[in-house]
Symmetry: C2
Subunit: 429 residues, 2 copies
């Protein structure tokens, strides 16, 4: 199945602004609600949202084997279940339909009216029903920074870290799409130097700059996914802000890992950019030394060169970019993560989400959390309005962006943006 | 809404064997497939499975507000969403229908034939679609045993343990109903005294004797559930075997908690016994010292006196009971667990499952895992066939049972039984 959707020379008859994340070579997948309250699966070109449910009803997917209501659903899970061959057929067909050379839809005003919306006129939803959410911890720089701060600066990485992609289970029920505000969590913490915990709002709310991939159903229980096949079962990626409450985390996390410090909210960008669209941006990952065990060994390029950025926008203020990182810094590849996750026979379903863990680069301005950027609050960041931040303030909006760029094309993710609100009260809501 | 379903004097016109876990006072909920491949929601009295979908179609639930297909579904999630008032109306109605005093259904042979099945003629399914699975660690005896073995015998409990119900997220995708065999997981371990990990089958596969409760959707994101309201949002309980691979766990679990050591499988009993049915068996939990923070304080009886038993049945052998424990030993109540889980605003959905953690009693014969029963393998258990066990062997079936008993009634859970198979191979399956 050739990936003609990726052809860098293709132009769309829809206007695509310069430096848009969504040229006709991207064709991401998402779910949106129109002004008429119709929920549909869609894609995006430039600043237009395209209703794939309407396209299907108008027979534009003729010849591709799809169930009748494939795109008239409120999640992508069934489509993802259909597998990579179908994803490619659909992306290729969409590319052809919106190609300048193709005037079928372009010249049909009645069809265009029910298919194409301004992006401002739709409301993006969570694109998948996430059965299980796993979070890895695969940035060596991040794990080293955390180890230096909380454990032993001389032995920052724990003994297992270089041998396996450390990961743990997160909570699916509180993953929300970009734009949904998040409340500062209440919880138990142990003040420094005290022996009795106290109850109150978290004082150290942080973001974690992550990317996450969405899987298809790839194995039966008991079966593992070989590392060389793993990418076949990855549908695509999103930007992911794994909100964290550092003071709650510090008190609760031994011995079973973070729990309430994490599960109050995670925010994701609404468009899933397919692994296929990212194909031109494969990169060599960091050298792995020691060589991992055989089931984790892979040849070739399995990292992806995706520029990442974090900004803070204070209430009624303007944003300040506080970090520039890159997804290619990840020590463990997504394929290695998925192979490891299933080596014990753990079943993976369509719509499962796997986070990278905080993505920190090698330099201080490329760290992926306030914890690291301010080194535990010791070196506050000054925003462009002159105010300082050790962690995130109520009213701050945290914005993460990501895009790939070469000489021919730019493929981006848009953004995941969410505002931190004060603790929840009944009255407020 | 009176709980007339619990009337201990009620008798059913269906035969209930002596010492059955399922007298007419139980009325648990489950999902089964009939010989004709019909999937339905059902209940159980004695050794009869009762098709609630068929009962609903025949109008036996008239007067109770239910959607038309409420019981013609393959999960209980929608029914659980309807809330405690509806659960009670339905349980009361079922009790009335099968009461010796009521001959409506009893005398209608045509109806009886489509409603009532022998339990051997149906195949039990997972009763709920589990969105998120959380596992607590709420037995003080278990946490102390593990702390003594792996950390400091003098300070076995970590500092947070007495202040909050420690918990972590598990994996929903590998929770299976009783009867489904489980493969010994492959994985990475660090042999004693070595510095390089090796790959192979886990050598230390263990069970964990747990109970788990199923919640309804109780809060919006950001909102917490007060401890005094928490029981209103608990639908019922099941027996739960949280399979564990101790050697994988030891190597992988720092710093983010157990992952592949747990997520290869968890097994649950198929009938959800309602919290209402367990009402006569409320008990006083252990004294909590130090007094927990206010959001975890509760008055009255919030433990449940449920006798628990674990047996091992070797391949082609007879079973040996190896542990007798009780759910009332739990230090933290289910209400405290749910209040803590949501104190940060974490959303809880209908069908979410929350495990107690391993339930160990105060005596050596009441421990809830092989790890504790054999003290890390040092004191093997001799089965009735003369063979020894340090952990679970391939071919062993692990059977857990649970029941409540007073002078008037016995309410039980049946069993969760699952066999450990050798590692998965493609050929085998």
């Amino acid at each position: 199945m050739p990936l003609t959707a990726n052809d860098p020379n293709r132009k769309s008859w829809l206007n695509v602004p310069k430096d848009s994340d969504f040229p006709i070579q991207n064709i991401p997948f998402g779910v949106f609600i129109t002004k008429d309250d119709v929920v549909t699966i869609g894609t995006r070109i430039g600043d237009f949202a395209i209703d794939l449910g309407a396209l299907q009803q108008l027979n534009y997917f003729e010849g591709i084997e799809l169930t009748d209501d494939m795109f008239m659903q409120d999640t992508l899970n069934d489509f993802i279940s259909d597998g990579k061959k179908t994803w490619r057929l659909v992306r290729n067909r969409i590319a052809e339909l919106f190609d300048t050379k193709n005037t079928t839809l372009k010249d049909n005003e009645a069809h265009r009216e029910v298919v194409i919306f301004n992006i401002e006129d739709v409301e993006m939803q969570l694109p998948v029903l996430i059965g299980d959410y796993t979070d890895f911890y695969s940035s060596k720089e991040h794990a080293t920074n955390v180890g230096k701060m909380f454990r032993d600066p001389e032995n920052a990485l724990l003994p297992n870290w270089l041998h396996l992609p450390v990961g743990y289970h997160g909570r699916s029920s509180t993953i929300v799409p970009s734009g949904i505000p998040v409340h500062r969590p209440m919880g138990q913490t142990l003040p420094n130097g005290e022996t009795q915990p106290v109850f109150g709002p978290s004082k150290l709310v942080d973001f974690e700059l992550e990317m996450a991939f969405i899987t298809t159903d790839a194995n039966v229980m008991g079966e593992s996914i070989p590392v060389e096949e793993a990418e076949e079962h990855i549908f695509g990626l999103v930007l992911f802000n794994d909100w964290s409450a550092r003071d709650i985390q510090k008190w609760e996390y031994v011995p079973l890992g973070p729990f309430l410090a994490k599960n109050f909210a995670s925010s994701m960008s609404p468009w899933i950019v397919t692994l296929d669209a990212l194909e031109p941006f494969r990169a060599q990952g960091p050298e792995q030394n020691p060589k991992p065990l055989e089931y984790l060994q892979q040849e070739g390029k399995h990292a992806y060169d995706i520029n990442l950025q974090v900004a803070i926008e204070p209430e009624d203020g303007i944003e300040t970019v506080i970090s520039n990182s890159n997804f290619k810094y990840m020590y463990w590849s997504m394929a290695q993560q998925l192979a490891h996750h299933t080596i014990n026979g753990c079943r993976v379903n369509s719509g499962d989400l796997m986070g990278s863990g905080t993505i920190s680069g090698p330099t201080e301005d490329s760290f992926g959390s306030m914890l690291e950027l301010t080194w535990g609050g010791k070196n506050p960041i000054t925003l462009s309005d002159g105010t300082e931040r050790k962690f995130i303030n109520d009213g701050d909006c945290v914005i993460m962006r990501g895009y790939c760029q070469n000489d021919e094309v730019r493929i981006g993710f848009g953004e995941v943006s969410s505002k931190l609100l004060p603790p929840f009260t009944k009255k407020q809501n």
